[in-house]
């Protein structure tokens, strides 16, 4: 990054190649599988990284710095999103997560997870995803969010617990539906 700061802007491509996937994955999960938006947001992150390169002082890790930018880009996106449309109305019928076609149960679980993630608040979804980023420590997440490491863990716990409750409800509905389908099929075959 010091080369980029010293004017060798092209060196950012090394960092882009290293970080594009984790940042894309971060946005993919926080936008609940919106590929197009995730790619737009990754683009914005690197645009800002070039424009504000001097804000990287080298005191923290590059991972923390770039994800701080991603966090702010995400916040801006969420703000705009709230202004323009009702998020609840955007819940789509299709799913965006890559499923292993051969594993039906896993595929259904991931679909339920995607739906459950959509039911969380933006901040709850983000804290769960941040906690899963490789190389990003809780202390660094705490610095990014202006809170303590302990508070970050507590917020992750609460968000995962809420997600788990929603997920279980969705899964129960699915099992009930599949059960009734099974009954209908059995009745029909009789």
């Amino acid at each position: 990054m010091s080369h980029v700061i010293d004017g060798e802007i092209d060196k950012i491509s090394i960092l882009y190649e290293k970080y594009k996937r984790p940042i894309y994955s971060y946005f993919f999960k926080t936008t609940c599988g919106d590929r197009e938006t995730s790619e737009d947001l990754v683009h914005t992150v690197f645009y800002r990284a070039i424009r504000y390169k001097h804000s990287f002082t080298g005191q923290g890790s590059f991972t923390k710095w770039i994800f701080s930018i991603a966090h702010n880009v995400g916040l801006d996106h969420n703000r705009k999103k709230r202004n323009y449309y009702n998020y609840e109305s955007e819940v789509r019928s299709g799913h965006s997560i890559m499923y292993d076609e051969n594993d039906y149960e896993k595929k259904e679980q991931l679909a339920s997870l995607e739906f459950a993630m959509k039911k969380l608040e933006d901040e709850e979804r983000e804290i769960i995803v941040l906690g899963k980023i490789e190389g990003l420590r809780y202390k660094e997440i705490a610095d990014m969010l202006g809170t303590t490491e302990g508070n970050v863990k507590v917020r992750i716990f609460r968000a995962i617990r809420k997600l788990k409750d929603i997920f279980i409800k969705i899964e129960n509905v699915r099992y009930e539906k599949e059960g009734s389908k099974g009954k209908d099929n059995r009745s029909a075959s009789r």
Binding site: S2, S38, T57, Q59, F167
Partner: protein, 266 residues
Amino acid sequence: MKKKDPKEKIIDLLQGNLTPEEAREVISGLEKDGIDAGELESLRRISHLIESVNPGEPSSDMDRRFYEMLANEENEALAAEKSLIGKRWFQASSFNVGVRIAAGIALFLLGWFTASWSGQKSNTDREMADVSNKLTDLKQTLVLTMMQQNSSLERIKAVNMLNEFDSADERIIGSLLGALNHDENDNVRLLSLEALIRYSSNPAVREGLVTSIANQSSPMIQLRLAEVMVALNERKAAPEFQKVLMNSGLNYSVRNKIKEAVTVLL
């Protein structure tokens, strides 16, 4: 010491950040915290499920957009640099110090040829050498004057001109070390360092380079000094670098480079 919230410990447990002993302790205290083993298992499952989400690969369109944006940014930066250099050159070229030096040398040569032509003295090798020395001396004096100019562009030119001399006397070494330690412009300091490397067989230069380590704050120069000291195997630099490492605000890349240098030099 503040007692940890049990929820913090559960996150550590789910992330696998606890030792087996700590994990056992957390699990045995769970019910007291209102979380039964069944719920813990559900939390673990959902946590693993999140990790198993595969976002797939971003499209090649994302790469294309990034590289287009990068090319634009580079072009803009290049255009801005060219415009700045052009502006400075135009300002400086009206009657800059370089022109004055050239005029001084030309006048000196004209005087010498006129004297020779008039046949006042015979041309001898000794006289030729004398003139050549005087010319070099004059050039050095004028270049050293350029080093004192307010314009960093003039100082950069001066350092480049100093590189043209086959040898460097105390005045030149002193001037380059002065620039390396005190010039406000990073490029002048870096060029001075590069010029000094040519004279690194001189003990005074090596000592000056070691002393200058403590005066540098630009990551670019700190990195170069670390490389140079390793290349010269200058062991006296190790304690100076160790002092630099004590600076908590040190650039991450510089820190790593200096650590490497210290390991080699010690």
